[in-house]
């Protein structure tokens, strides 16, 4: 692997830039590994990166059914934030945000992390009060937050509907200045390249079709490219968790699979400078570095494993967008896509051990998977390496649904589609 640096760029200038090596190898699977990670998406690749680079472990493979980064890591709205109310979420996502801040250096790959701030709009006095409470909870956890009044919001985002006709007038907002967005594909590729450089075998077009379990302990997996032995197996297949976990006998997880759409407009000059979320409907928008407005809204609303969206939801999202920022009404929609979310029963993720020895679960990411990518990989790597969860993820254990220690940020109850 050739290191990306100014020096290597200048040196390459003398030889026609022909010295760059490929970003990662394409190895055949070995008969066995110490650790297998199932799922070559953001979380799986991040886990492999932290296992190899930070825990110094070798003999690791990542098995991916399709191609690296073909799932949810490339099917999101790339928002990164840690503006949560509950301690477990707050502290975990803040760890993740801190990892984002040094990620490009850690990976030697520019993930284009841009801390352009995240602003949640409030459209009533009580809503602004609840944001004050959340902002204070964030500050108690050492996270930056600023409460904005109507005029402060108007100064930052003049395009919002501040007219007298606004159905839901802007009362103010809660801003996290360190929030922002990143380039999603670069995140997958950066983690993949780093993991490969530290000896991890990234095996694509290799679908897991079964698990080998002896005496309650995992000993390997069956795949479309043969049987592969493993001492430990980590599952990072959010979207298809129930489907894959059932092969290991973990039936009936506290998860439903739902699809969530995201949309991007034609490219424009700089227009939306922050990540902005609407408070009177479900809508969030930012502008990519290419210029397209990237936005999304609610789930399509029913169990689905189909990675394609429906028109009624697009219309709904567009209507909410128009209510919030009328100026975007004449902009044309360029593309839309859909990813499959693991919607968990309390809206929070699951990272930890399972009843099967040597099998670890990373699932239930709901809407929050992209921003969690480095934090999730970091915690999952710690859990796999030490066979024990880190303090940051022990509250995300699978058995919290039995013990009653739910982490229900929205207070929506056990209705996965409502989180």
């Amino acid at each position: 692997m050739t290191r990306y640096s100014v020096w290597n760029l200048i040196k390459g200038g003398l030889t026609g830039q022909r010295h760059w090596s490929r970003a990662w190898r394409d190895p055949d699977p070995k008969p066995s590994y110490d650790i297998i990670i199932i799922g070559g998406g953001g979380h799986g690749l991040a886990t492999a990166h932290y296992l190899s680079k930070h825990h110094g472990l070798r003999n690791i493979a990542v098995l991916e059914k399709g191609w690296l980064g073909g799932g949810n890591v490339g099917r999101n709205t790339t928002i990164v934030r840690s503006n949560y109310l509950l301690d477990a979420n707050s502290q975990f996502y803040e760890k993740s945000l801190k990892l984002w801040e040094g990620l490009s250096q850690d990976l030697n790959y520019n993930v284009m992390f841009s801390q352009r701030s995240v602003i949640n709009l409030a459209h009533s006095k009580p809503q602004l009060d609840s944001y004050a409470r959340r902002g204070n909870a964030m500050r108690l956890n050492g996270i930056d937050s600023e409460l904005l009044d109507r005029e402060e919001v108007r100064k930052l985002v003049p395009l919002l509907d501040f007219s007298e006709n606004a159905r839901f007038p802007v009362y103010g907002g809660l801003m996290q200045p360190r929030g922002g967005s990143a380039r999603h594909d670069a995140v997958a590729w950066g983690f993949a390249r780093s993991a490969d450089a530290h000896g991890v075998d990234l095996i694509q077009n290799c679908e897991v079709t079964g698990f080998k379990i002896e005496n309650g302990a995992v000993t390997g997996v069956e795949t479309t490219r043969g049987s592969i032995g493993a001492k430990k197996v980590g599952l990072a297949v959010a979207g298809s968790t129930s489907h894959v976990a059932a092969m290991a006998g973990l039936n009936r997880l506290p998860i439903e699979s739902h699809k969530l759409q995201a949309m991007v407009s034609e490219g424009l000059k700089p227009l939306v400078h922050q990540v902005i979320t609407y408070g009177a409907g479900h809508f969030y928008i930012s502008q990519s570095d290419k210029g397209g407005l990237v936005f999304g809204g609610d789930l399509d609303g029913y169990n689905s494993y189909a990675q394609r969206g429906n028109m009624p939801l697009i219309e709904h999202v567009a209507a909410v967008g128009m209510a919030m920022m009328p100026a975007i009404g004449r902009i044309r929609l360029l593309r839309h896509w859909s990813g499959i979310m693991d919607m968990s029963m309390d809206g929070s993720p699951i990272i930890g051990k399972t009843p099967i020895k040597g099998l670890y679960l990373n699932a239930g990411w709901c809407y929050g998977g992209f921003k969690a990518t480095p934090g999730s990989g970091w915690c999952f790597a710690h859990t796999i390496a030490n066979d024990e969860p880190h303090a940051l993820n022990e509250r995300f254990a699978l058995n919290r649904f039995a013990t009653g220690h739910l982490i229900d940020e929205r207070g929506a109850g056990p209705i996965p589609g409502a989180h």
Binding site: Y302, A306, P416
Partner: protein
């Protein structure tokens, strides 16, 4: 997009309906002596199949009845619908992978 056949109103666009989740769940009996494992499974655990799924839809913009639907979560194909108190069998799932 799909069309759901309401047993009372006939074929209607999906936007008239509201999703109500897994219809294979049955409220636990014997509520006088609740068993925690049974209730945990009822409240929190789901089969979440990739393939045929028995589910509730309410015809909220129509007759407001609850309708039982056999739908494939991978293809969105609907095999059949029934009134809430009628039995509805799922087609045999071929390997959905």
């Amino acid at each position: 997009m799909f069309v759901i056949r309401c047993p009372y109103c006939g074929d209607r666009d999906m936007v008239e309906f509201t999703y109500g989740g897994d219809a294979s769940k049955k409220h636990p009996d014997n509520i006088e002596e609740p068993d925690q494992a049974v209730w945990q499974a009822h409240v929190y655990e789901r089969d979440n199949p990739r393939g045929w799924h028995l589910e509730w839809w309410q015809h909220t913009s129509g007759c407001r009845s609850w309708v039982k639907v056999a739908r494939n979560t991978l293809t969105h194909e609907i095999a059949g619908t029934a009134a809430a108190d009628e039995p509805l069998a799922l087609p045999v799932s071929e390997d959905a992978s």
